[in-house]
Protein backbone atom coordinates (compact mmCIF):
# COMPACT_ATOMS: atom_id res chain seq x y z
CA UNK A 1 0.00 0.00 0.00
CA UNK A 2 0.86 3.66 -0.38
CA UNK A 3 2.49 4.03 3.06
CA UNK A 4 4.92 1.23 2.28
CA UNK A 5 5.60 1.77 -1.39
CA UNK A 6 4.99 5.43 -2.11
CA UNK A 7 2.69 4.42 -4.95
CA UNK A 8 -1.07 5.02 -4.61
CA UNK A 9 -3.28 1.95 -4.99
CA UNK A 10 -6.12 1.41 -7.45
CA UNK A 11 -8.96 2.23 -5.05
CA UNK A 12 -7.35 5.58 -4.28
CA UNK A 13 -6.82 6.37 -7.94
CA UNK A 14 -10.33 5.31 -8.92
CA UNK A 15 -11.68 7.97 -6.58
CA UNK A 16 -9.76 10.81 -8.23
CA UNK A 17 -9.92 9.99 -11.91
CA UNK A 18 -12.28 11.95 -14.15
CA UNK A 19 -15.70 10.33 -14.56
CA UNK A 20 -15.98 8.03 -17.62
CA UNK A 21 -16.98 9.89 -20.73
CA UNK A 22 -15.93 13.28 -19.38
CA UNK A 23 -15.21 15.77 -22.18
CA UNK A 24 -12.20 18.06 -21.82
CA UNK A 25 -9.27 18.29 -19.40
CA UNK A 26 -9.67 17.78 -15.68
CA UNK A 27 -7.32 17.75 -12.69
CA UNK A 28 -6.36 14.47 -11.05
CA UNK A 29 -5.15 15.13 -7.52
CA UNK A 30 -3.02 12.29 -6.20
CA UNK A 31 -2.62 13.57 -2.65
CA UNK A 32 -4.07 11.05 -0.21
CA UNK A 33 -2.45 11.84 3.10
CA UNK A 34 -3.42 14.39 5.72
CA UNK A 35 -0.52 16.84 5.67
CA UNK A 36 -0.41 20.51 6.68
CA UNK A 37 -0.59 21.98 3.19
CA UNK A 38 -3.15 23.97 1.18
CA UNK A 39 -1.70 25.99 -1.73
CA UNK A 40 -3.63 23.96 -4.34
CA UNK A 41 -6.89 25.26 -3.02
CA UNK A 42 -5.61 28.84 -2.98
CA UNK A 43 -4.26 28.48 -6.52
CA UNK A 44 -7.58 27.58 -8.08
CA UNK A 45 -9.43 30.76 -8.93
CA UNK A 46 -12.47 28.76 -10.03
CA UNK A 47 -13.00 27.37 -6.56
CA UNK A 48 -12.70 23.84 -7.88
CA UNK A 49 -10.60 22.70 -4.94
CA UNK A 50 -12.81 23.17 -1.90
CA UNK A 51 -11.20 25.55 0.56
CA UNK A 52 -9.75 23.79 3.56
CA UNK A 53 -11.51 24.07 6.91
CA UNK A 54 -8.42 22.43 8.40
CA UNK A 55 -5.03 22.82 6.70
CA UNK A 56 -4.45 19.09 7.20
CA UNK A 57 -7.43 18.04 5.07
CA UNK A 58 -6.59 16.28 1.84
CA UNK A 59 -7.79 18.27 -1.18
CA UNK A 60 -11.20 17.56 -2.67
CA UNK A 61 -11.85 18.40 -6.33
CA UNK A 62 -15.26 19.77 -7.21
CA UNK A 63 -15.31 18.26 -10.67
CA UNK A 64 -18.04 20.41 -12.18
CA UNK A 65 -15.94 23.53 -11.56
CA UNK A 66 -12.60 22.26 -12.91
CA UNK A 67 -11.63 23.18 -16.46
CA UNK A 68 -8.21 21.54 -16.35
CA UNK A 69 -6.32 24.85 -16.65
CA UNK A 70 -3.46 23.45 -14.57
CA UNK A 71 -2.90 26.50 -12.38
CA UNK A 72 -2.89 24.32 -9.29
CA UNK A 73 -0.23 22.00 -10.73
CA UNK A 74 2.82 24.19 -10.32
CA UNK A 75 1.75 25.54 -6.95
CA UNK A 76 1.54 22.06 -5.46
CA UNK A 77 4.81 21.41 -3.58
CA UNK A 78 4.08 17.69 -3.72
CA UNK A 79 3.95 17.74 -7.55
CA UNK A 80 0.90 15.59 -6.98
CA UNK A 81 -1.57 17.18 -9.40
CA UNK A 82 -1.92 16.05 -13.00
CA UNK A 83 -4.41 17.00 -15.69
CA UNK A 84 -5.82 14.47 -18.10
CA UNK A 85 -8.09 14.77 -21.10
CA UNK A 86 -9.49 11.48 -22.36
CA UNK A 87 -11.32 13.30 -25.17
CA UNK A 88 -8.08 14.69 -26.67
CA UNK A 89 -8.33 12.53 -29.83
CA UNK A 90 -9.65 9.17 -30.94
CA UNK A 91 -6.34 7.45 -30.36
CA UNK A 92 -4.61 9.55 -27.72
CA UNK A 93 -5.16 10.93 -24.26
CA UNK A 94 -3.61 14.20 -23.12
CA UNK A 95 -1.66 14.02 -19.84
CA UNK A 96 -0.07 17.09 -18.25
CA UNK A 97 2.67 16.38 -15.72
CA UNK A 98 4.71 18.70 -13.50
CA UNK A 99 8.42 18.31 -14.26
CA UNK A 100 11.53 19.63 -12.52
CA UNK A 101 14.42 17.92 -14.28
CA UNK A 102 16.84 19.07 -16.93
CA UNK A 103 17.08 18.79 -19.84
CA UNK A 104 13.48 19.59 -20.61
CA UNK A 105 12.02 17.56 -23.48
CA UNK A 106 11.57 19.19 -26.84
CA UNK A 107 8.13 19.90 -28.19
CA UNK A 108 7.11 17.54 -30.96
CA UNK A 109 9.57 14.78 -30.02
CA UNK A 110 8.75 11.34 -28.67
CA UNK A 111 9.86 10.45 -25.13
CA UNK A 112 9.62 7.31 -23.04
CA UNK A 113 6.53 7.42 -20.84
CA UNK A 114 6.95 6.14 -17.28
CA UNK A 115 4.39 4.93 -14.77
CA UNK A 116 4.23 5.66 -11.03
CA UNK A 117 7.11 3.26 -10.38
CA UNK A 118 9.29 4.71 -13.10
CA UNK A 119 8.72 1.75 -15.41
CA UNK A 120 8.55 2.44 -19.16
CA UNK A 121 5.03 1.90 -20.48
CA UNK A 122 5.28 3.22 -24.03
CA UNK A 123 6.00 6.31 -26.05
CA UNK A 124 4.52 9.74 -25.47
CA UNK A 125 4.57 12.71 -27.81
CA UNK A 126 5.55 16.02 -26.25
CA UNK A 127 2.84 18.49 -27.25
CA UNK A 128 3.93 21.46 -25.24
CA UNK A 129 6.50 22.49 -22.63
CA UNK A 130 4.87 25.13 -20.49
CA UNK A 131 7.09 27.42 -18.44
CA UNK A 132 6.68 30.82 -16.93
CA UNK A 133 7.75 33.12 -14.17
CA UNK A 134 4.73 32.35 -12.03
CA UNK A 135 5.49 28.66 -12.38
CA UNK A 136 8.76 29.19 -10.54
CA UNK A 137 10.91 26.59 -12.30
CA UNK A 138 8.29 23.86 -12.33
CA UNK A 139 7.56 23.07 -15.98
CA UNK A 140 4.32 21.49 -17.11
CA UNK A 141 4.80 18.95 -19.88
CA UNK A 142 1.83 18.20 -22.11
CA UNK A 143 1.99 14.64 -23.37
CA UNK A 144 -0.12 12.79 -25.89
CA UNK A 145 -0.15 9.16 -24.75
CA UNK A 146 -1.86 6.12 -26.28
CA UNK A 147 -5.50 5.76 -25.25
CA UNK A 148 -5.84 3.81 -22.05
CA UNK A 149 -2.63 5.14 -20.49
CA UNK A 150 -4.04 8.42 -19.14
CA UNK A 151 -4.16 7.15 -15.58
CA UNK A 152 -0.85 5.32 -15.94
CA UNK A 153 1.70 7.77 -17.32
CA UNK A 154 3.11 10.02 -14.62
CA UNK A 155 6.65 10.82 -15.74
CA UNK A 156 8.95 10.69 -18.70
CA UNK A 157 12.50 9.82 -19.52
CA UNK A 158 14.22 12.36 -21.74
CA UNK A 159 17.10 11.19 -23.91
CA UNK A 160 19.23 8.13 -23.15
Amino acid sequence: MLERTGVPVKEQLDRVQPPPGHEGPMAVIECFQEIPCNPCSEACTRGAIASFTDINNPPVLIREKCNGCGNCMFRCPGLAIFVIDESYSDTETLVKIPYEYLPLPEEGTPVTALDREGKPVGLARVIKVQQGKAMDRTAIIWLAVPKGLGMTVRSIQVGR
Binding site: L2, E3, R4, T5, G6, V7, P8, E30, C31, F32, Q33, E34, I35, P36, C37, N38, P39, E42, A43, D54, I55, N56, R75, C76, P77, G78, L79, A80, E100, Y101, L102, L114, D115, R116, E117, G118, K119, D136, R137, T138, R154, S155
Partner: protein, 364 residues
Amino acid sequence: MTETEILVIGGGPAGLRAAAAAGELGAQVLVIEEMDWLGGQLVKQTHKFFGSKEQYASRRGIDIARILAGELENHDRVTVWTGAPVLGIYEDGMVTAQKDNRHVKIKPQRIIVATGAAEKVLPFPNNDLPGVYGAGAVQTLMNLHGVLPGRRVLMVGAGNIGLIVSYQLLQAGVEVAAVIEGAAHIGGYLVHAAKIRRAGVPILTRHTIKEAQGREVVEGAVIQQLDENWQPVPGTEQQLEVDVICLAVGLTPLADLLWQAGCEMRFIPELGGHVPYRNRLLETTRPGIYVAGDVAGVEEASAAMVEGRLAGLAAARSLGYGGPEAEAYLEDALRQLHALRSGPAGEKIRRGLEKLETMEGVPC
Protein backbone atom coordinates in the same frame (compact mmCIF):
# COMPACT_ATOMS: atom_id res chain seq x y z
CA MET B 1 31.10 45.23 24.85
CA THR B 2 27.93 45.41 22.77
CA GLU B 3 24.60 46.09 24.42
CA THR B 4 21.29 45.10 22.92
CA GLU B 5 17.76 44.71 24.16
CA ILE B 6 17.21 41.41 22.44
CA LEU B 7 19.86 39.00 21.19
CA VAL B 8 18.82 36.37 18.68
CA ILE B 9 21.27 33.48 18.33
CA GLY B 10 20.97 31.78 14.93
CA GLY B 11 19.85 33.24 11.61
CA GLY B 12 17.63 30.42 10.34
CA PRO B 13 13.90 30.80 9.76
CA ALA B 14 13.17 30.84 13.49
CA GLY B 15 15.80 33.44 14.34
CA LEU B 16 15.02 35.69 11.39
CA ARG B 17 11.32 35.68 12.14
CA ALA B 18 12.01 36.32 15.84
CA ALA B 19 14.13 39.35 14.99
CA ALA B 20 11.58 40.77 12.57
CA ALA B 21 8.75 40.41 15.07
CA ALA B 22 10.66 41.94 17.98
CA GLY B 23 11.84 44.79 15.76
CA GLU B 24 8.32 45.37 14.54
CA LEU B 25 7.16 45.95 18.12
CA GLY B 26 9.95 48.48 18.61
CA ALA B 27 12.67 46.53 20.35
CA GLN B 28 16.31 46.85 19.42
CA VAL B 29 17.64 43.50 18.17
CA LEU B 30 20.98 41.93 17.37
CA VAL B 31 21.03 38.70 15.33
CA ILE B 32 24.20 36.64 15.43
CA GLU B 33 24.74 33.89 12.87
CA GLU B 34 27.68 31.54 12.71
CA MET B 35 27.68 31.11 8.94
CA ASP B 36 28.54 33.81 6.44
CA TRP B 37 24.94 33.87 5.23
CA LEU B 38 21.45 33.92 6.68
CA GLY B 39 18.71 31.35 6.23
CA GLY B 40 19.92 28.29 8.16
CA GLN B 41 18.73 25.04 6.61
CA LEU B 42 16.62 26.93 4.08
CA VAL B 43 19.54 27.92 1.88
CA LYS B 44 19.91 24.27 0.90
CA GLN B 45 16.24 23.58 0.20
CA THR B 46 15.64 23.93 -3.52
CA HIS B 47 12.16 22.37 -3.38
CA LYS B 48 8.80 24.04 -2.90
CA PHE B 49 7.54 24.05 0.68
CA PHE B 50 4.33 22.86 2.26
CA GLY B 51 2.27 24.86 4.69
CA SER B 52 0.01 27.79 4.02
CA LYS B 53 0.45 31.26 2.61
CA GLU B 54 1.47 32.67 6.00
CA GLN B 55 4.53 30.39 5.93
CA TYR B 56 5.26 30.98 2.22
CA ALA B 57 3.93 27.62 1.04
CA SER B 58 4.82 26.72 -2.56
CA ARG B 59 7.85 28.97 -2.44
CA ARG B 60 11.24 27.27 -2.59
CA GLY B 61 13.27 27.15 0.62
CA ILE B 62 16.12 29.14 -0.95
CA ASP B 63 13.70 31.91 -1.85
CA ILE B 64 12.05 31.89 1.57
CA ALA B 65 15.53 32.42 3.04
CA ARG B 66 15.93 35.49 0.83
CA ILE B 67 12.52 36.85 1.77
CA LEU B 68 13.17 36.42 5.49
CA ALA B 69 16.63 37.98 5.32
CA GLY B 70 15.20 40.80 3.21
CA GLU B 71 12.60 41.57 5.85
CA LEU B 72 15.38 42.56 8.20
CA GLU B 73 17.11 44.88 5.76
CA ASN B 74 14.48 47.55 6.17
CA HIS B 75 14.51 47.35 9.92
CA ASP B 76 16.67 50.11 11.39
CA ARG B 77 16.37 48.57 14.83
CA VAL B 78 17.73 45.17 13.78
CA THR B 79 21.48 44.58 13.41
CA VAL B 80 22.84 41.38 11.89
CA TRP B 81 26.26 39.84 12.37
CA THR B 82 27.16 36.92 10.14
CA GLY B 83 30.25 34.74 10.32
CA ALA B 84 30.08 35.03 14.10
CA PRO B 85 29.56 31.89 16.21
CA VAL B 86 28.14 32.47 19.67
CA LEU B 87 30.37 30.70 22.16
CA GLY B 88 28.62 30.91 25.49
CA ILE B 89 25.85 32.26 27.68
CA TYR B 90 27.07 32.97 31.21
CA GLU B 91 25.53 33.12 34.65
CA ASP B 92 25.58 36.91 34.78
CA GLY B 93 23.70 37.07 31.47
CA MET B 94 26.76 37.92 29.38
CA VAL B 95 27.13 36.28 26.01
CA THR B 96 30.37 35.77 24.13
CA ALA B 97 30.91 35.36 20.43
CA GLN B 98 33.70 35.29 17.91
CA LYS B 99 33.62 38.14 15.45
CA ASP B 100 36.29 39.13 12.93
CA ASN B 101 38.64 36.75 14.72
CA ARG B 102 38.09 38.53 17.99
CA HIS B 103 36.39 37.41 21.14
CA VAL B 104 33.52 39.82 21.82
CA LYS B 105 31.10 40.28 24.69
CA ILE B 106 27.43 41.07 24.35
CA LYS B 107 25.11 42.20 27.11
CA PRO B 108 21.51 41.51 26.13
CA GLN B 109 18.37 42.00 28.19
CA ARG B 110 16.63 39.07 26.53
CA ILE B 111 18.02 36.13 24.53
CA ILE B 112 16.26 34.05 21.90
CA VAL B 113 18.12 30.84 21.13
CA ALA B 114 17.34 29.61 17.61
CA THR B 115 20.35 27.45 16.83
CA GLY B 116 18.50 24.69 14.97
CA ALA B 117 19.46 21.03 14.99
CA ALA B 118 22.33 18.70 14.17
CA GLU B 119 22.24 15.44 12.27
CA LYS B 120 22.19 12.07 13.95
CA VAL B 121 24.52 9.31 12.82
CA LEU B 122 24.06 5.57 12.57
CA PRO B 123 26.51 2.94 13.79
CA PHE B 124 27.42 0.22 11.29
CA PRO B 125 30.71 -1.38 10.21
CA ASN B 126 32.87 0.90 8.05
CA ASN B 127 30.71 3.96 8.62
CA ASP B 128 33.92 5.96 8.80
CA LEU B 129 34.81 5.34 5.14
CA PRO B 130 34.95 8.40 2.92
CA GLY B 131 31.69 8.36 0.96
CA VAL B 132 29.48 7.99 4.01
CA TYR B 133 27.77 11.35 4.35
CA GLY B 134 25.06 12.96 6.40
CA ALA B 135 22.20 14.28 4.27
CA GLY B 136 23.07 17.81 5.33
CA ALA B 137 26.60 17.42 4.01
CA VAL B 138 25.33 16.10 0.69
CA GLN B 139 23.05 19.10 0.41
CA THR B 140 25.83 21.51 1.31
CA LEU B 141 28.14 20.03 -1.29
CA MET B 142 25.52 19.91 -3.98
CA ASN B 143 23.32 22.92 -3.40
CA LEU B 144 25.77 25.40 -1.90
CA HIS B 145 28.99 24.48 -3.67
CA GLY B 146 27.76 22.78 -6.84
CA VAL B 147 29.78 19.62 -6.21
CA LEU B 148 28.31 16.16 -6.77
CA PRO B 149 28.91 13.77 -3.86
CA GLY B 150 29.30 10.77 -6.18
CA ARG B 151 27.60 8.81 -8.93
CA ARG B 152 25.33 6.32 -7.22
CA VAL B 153 23.81 6.74 -3.78
CA LEU B 154 22.19 4.56 -1.16
CA MET B 155 19.88 6.74 0.93
CA VAL B 156 19.29 5.56 4.47
CA GLY B 157 16.01 6.91 5.88
CA ALA B 158 12.67 7.62 4.23
CA GLY B 159 11.64 10.59 6.32
CA ASN B 160 11.12 13.91 4.56
CA ILE B 161 14.84 14.65 4.53
CA GLY B 162 15.77 11.31 2.96
CA LEU B 163 13.04 11.66 0.34
CA ILE B 164 13.80 15.29 -0.50
CA VAL B 165 17.56 14.85 -0.68
CA SER B 166 17.01 11.82 -2.95
CA TYR B 167 14.91 14.01 -5.22
CA GLN B 168 17.58 16.71 -5.25
CA LEU B 169 20.23 14.10 -6.09
CA LEU B 170 18.15 12.91 -9.03
CA GLN B 171 17.74 16.50 -10.19
CA ALA B 172 21.50 16.91 -10.05
CA GLY B 173 21.89 13.84 -12.26
CA VAL B 174 23.03 11.42 -9.55
CA GLU B 175 21.58 7.93 -9.52
CA VAL B 176 19.80 6.80 -6.35
CA ALA B 177 20.07 3.01 -6.03
CA ALA B 178 17.46 2.77 -3.28
CA VAL B 179 16.01 4.48 -0.25
CA ILE B 180 15.90 2.16 2.74
CA GLU B 181 13.84 2.64 5.87
CA GLY B 182 13.87 0.58 9.06
CA ALA B 183 10.25 1.26 9.96
CA ALA B 184 7.33 -0.49 8.29
CA HIS B 185 6.09 2.76 6.76
CA ILE B 186 7.54 5.68 4.87
CA GLY B 187 7.95 8.45 7.44
CA GLY B 188 8.01 11.43 5.09
CA TYR B 189 5.16 12.88 3.09
CA LEU B 190 3.86 10.36 0.58
CA VAL B 191 3.72 12.91 -2.23
CA HIS B 192 7.50 13.34 -1.83
CA ALA B 193 7.85 9.55 -1.94
CA ALA B 194 5.73 9.37 -5.11
CA LYS B 195 8.05 11.89 -6.83
CA ILE B 196 11.09 9.66 -6.47
CA ARG B 197 9.16 6.45 -7.12
CA ARG B 198 8.09 7.66 -10.54
CA ALA B 199 11.72 8.48 -11.23
CA GLY B 200 12.36 4.76 -10.73
CA VAL B 201 13.86 4.78 -7.23
CA PRO B 202 12.78 1.85 -5.03
CA ILE B 203 11.84 2.54 -1.41
CA LEU B 204 12.47 -0.48 0.77
CA THR B 205 10.75 -0.33 4.14
CA ARG B 206 11.86 -2.63 6.97
CA HIS B 207 15.38 -2.56 5.61
CA THR B 208 18.60 -1.42 7.20
CA ILE B 209 22.24 -1.11 6.26
CA LYS B 210 24.41 -3.96 7.46
CA GLU B 211 27.75 -2.59 6.42
CA ALA B 212 29.58 -0.28 4.07
CA GLN B 213 32.09 -1.94 1.77
CA GLY B 214 35.34 -0.67 0.34
CA ARG B 215 39.00 -0.36 1.21
CA GLU B 216 39.81 3.31 0.94
CA VAL B 217 36.43 4.69 0.00
CA VAL B 218 32.86 3.42 -0.23
CA GLU B 219 32.50 0.94 -3.07
CA GLY B 220 29.29 -0.71 -2.02
CA ALA B 221 26.80 -1.39 0.73
CA VAL B 222 25.06 -4.44 2.11
CA ILE B 223 21.46 -3.95 3.08
CA GLN B 224 19.26 -6.36 4.95
CA GLN B 225 15.61 -6.86 5.77
CA LEU B 226 14.29 -6.32 9.32
CA ASP B 227 11.48 -8.22 11.01
CA GLU B 228 8.68 -6.64 13.09
CA ASN B 229 11.03 -6.43 16.08
CA TRP B 230 13.67 -4.60 14.07
CA GLN B 231 15.84 -7.74 14.03
CA PRO B 232 17.81 -8.52 10.85
CA VAL B 233 16.38 -11.43 8.88
CA PRO B 234 19.25 -13.82 8.02
CA GLY B 235 19.66 -14.60 4.35
CA THR B 236 18.07 -11.38 3.11
CA GLU B 237 21.34 -9.54 2.54
CA GLN B 238 21.64 -7.63 -0.73
CA GLN B 239 24.74 -6.06 -2.10
CA LEU B 240 24.42 -2.66 -3.79
CA GLU B 241 27.09 -1.01 -5.85
CA VAL B 242 27.20 2.56 -4.65
CA ASP B 243 29.93 5.12 -4.05
CA VAL B 244 27.91 7.21 -1.59
CA ILE B 245 25.94 6.20 1.48
CA CYS B 246 23.81 9.08 2.64
CA LEU B 247 22.40 9.04 6.17
CA ALA B 248 19.10 10.78 6.75
CA VAL B 249 18.25 9.27 10.09
CA GLY B 250 17.01 12.30 11.94
CA LEU B 251 18.06 15.48 13.65
CA THR B 252 18.68 16.37 17.25
CA PRO B 253 18.36 19.87 18.80
CA LEU B 254 21.60 21.85 18.94
CA ALA B 255 21.10 22.79 22.58
CA ASP B 256 24.63 23.27 23.97
CA LEU B 257 24.07 26.94 24.73
CA LEU B 258 20.91 26.11 26.65
CA TRP B 259 22.71 23.51 28.74
CA GLN B 260 25.42 25.98 29.49
CA ALA B 261 22.89 28.64 30.41
CA GLY B 262 21.40 26.25 32.95
CA CYS B 263 17.99 25.87 31.34
CA GLU B 264 16.08 22.87 32.59
CA MET B 265 16.22 20.18 29.91
CA ARG B 266 14.17 17.05 29.24
CA PHE B 267 14.89 14.07 27.02
CA ILE B 268 11.90 13.77 24.69
CA PRO B 269 12.52 11.37 21.78
CA GLU B 270 9.48 12.72 19.89
CA LEU B 271 11.17 16.13 19.75
CA GLY B 272 14.53 14.73 18.67
CA GLY B 273 16.40 14.51 21.98
CA HIS B 274 17.11 16.95 24.79
CA VAL B 275 14.90 20.01 24.67
CA PRO B 276 14.40 22.89 27.08
CA TYR B 277 11.36 23.11 29.25
CA ARG B 278 9.48 26.31 28.38
CA ASN B 279 6.16 28.02 28.81
CA ARG B 280 3.49 28.73 26.19
CA LEU B 281 5.38 31.82 25.03
CA LEU B 282 8.62 29.83 24.67
CA GLU B 283 10.46 31.24 27.69
CA THR B 284 12.73 28.65 29.29
CA THR B 285 13.21 28.07 33.01
CA ARG B 286 15.91 30.68 32.92
CA PRO B 287 13.97 33.97 32.88
CA GLY B 288 14.68 36.07 29.82
CA ILE B 289 15.94 33.18 27.68
CA TYR B 290 13.53 32.09 24.97
CA VAL B 291 13.78 29.32 22.37
CA ALA B 292 12.33 28.87 18.89
CA GLY B 293 12.59 26.46 15.99
CA ASP B 294 14.34 23.12 15.74
CA VAL B 295 16.39 23.68 18.92
CA ALA B 296 13.11 23.59 20.82
CA GLY B 297 12.09 20.35 19.11
CA VAL B 298 12.86 19.15 15.59
CA GLU B 299 9.96 20.06 13.36
CA GLU B 300 9.53 22.05 10.15
CA ALA B 301 10.50 25.46 8.85
CA SER B 302 6.84 26.44 8.83
CA ALA B 303 6.58 25.81 12.57
CA ALA B 304 10.04 27.32 13.17
CA MET B 305 8.96 30.59 11.57
CA VAL B 306 5.83 30.81 13.68
CA GLU B 307 7.70 29.90 16.85
CA GLY B 308 10.29 32.53 16.00
CA ARG B 309 7.60 35.15 15.63
CA LEU B 310 6.02 34.05 18.89
CA ALA B 311 9.31 34.22 20.83
CA GLY B 312 10.19 37.57 19.25
CA LEU B 313 6.84 39.07 20.17
CA ALA B 314 6.93 37.65 23.68
CA ALA B 315 10.47 38.86 24.37
CA ALA B 316 9.73 42.37 23.08
CA ARG B 317 6.52 42.56 25.03
CA SER B 318 8.29 41.54 28.22
CA LEU B 319 10.43 44.65 27.73
CA GLY B 320 7.32 46.80 27.52
CA TYR B 321 7.02 47.05 23.75
CA GLY B 322 3.82 46.73 21.78
CA GLY B 323 0.33 47.76 22.72
CA PRO B 324 -2.87 45.77 22.54
CA GLU B 325 -1.98 44.73 18.99
CA ALA B 326 0.89 42.64 20.37
CA GLU B 327 -1.66 40.55 22.20
CA ALA B 328 -3.53 39.87 18.96
CA TYR B 329 -0.28 38.99 17.14
CA LEU B 330 0.60 36.52 19.88
CA GLU B 331 -2.80 34.87 19.70
CA ASP B 332 -2.54 34.67 15.93
CA ALA B 333 0.88 32.98 16.14
CA LEU B 334 -0.44 30.49 18.68
CA ARG B 335 -3.40 29.76 16.39
CA GLN B 336 -1.09 29.14 13.40
CA LEU B 337 1.09 26.78 15.42
CA HIS B 338 -1.93 24.89 16.60
CA ALA B 339 -3.24 24.52 13.04
CA LEU B 340 0.11 23.28 11.70
CA ARG B 341 0.33 20.64 14.40
CA SER B 342 -3.29 19.58 14.52
CA GLY B 343 -3.22 16.85 11.84
CA PRO B 344 -1.80 13.32 11.84
CA ALA B 345 1.55 14.69 10.61
CA GLY B 346 1.80 16.67 13.85
CA GLU B 347 0.88 13.74 16.07
CA LYS B 348 4.44 13.02 17.19
CA ILE B 349 5.14 16.67 17.97
CA ARG B 350 1.92 16.94 19.96
CA ARG B 351 2.83 13.86 21.95
CA GLY B 352 6.30 15.27 22.63
CA LEU B 353 5.01 18.66 23.70
CA GLU B 354 2.46 17.03 25.97
CA LYS B 355 5.20 15.02 27.66
CA LEU B 356 7.23 18.16 28.08
CA GLU B 357 4.31 20.07 29.52
CA THR B 358 3.58 17.45 32.14
CA MET B 359 7.35 17.29 32.76
CA GLU B 360 7.36 13.64 31.83
CA GLY B 361 10.36 12.30 29.98
CA VAL B 362 13.71 11.81 31.60
CA PRO B 363 14.73 14.79 33.76
CA CYS B 364 18.31 15.88 33.64
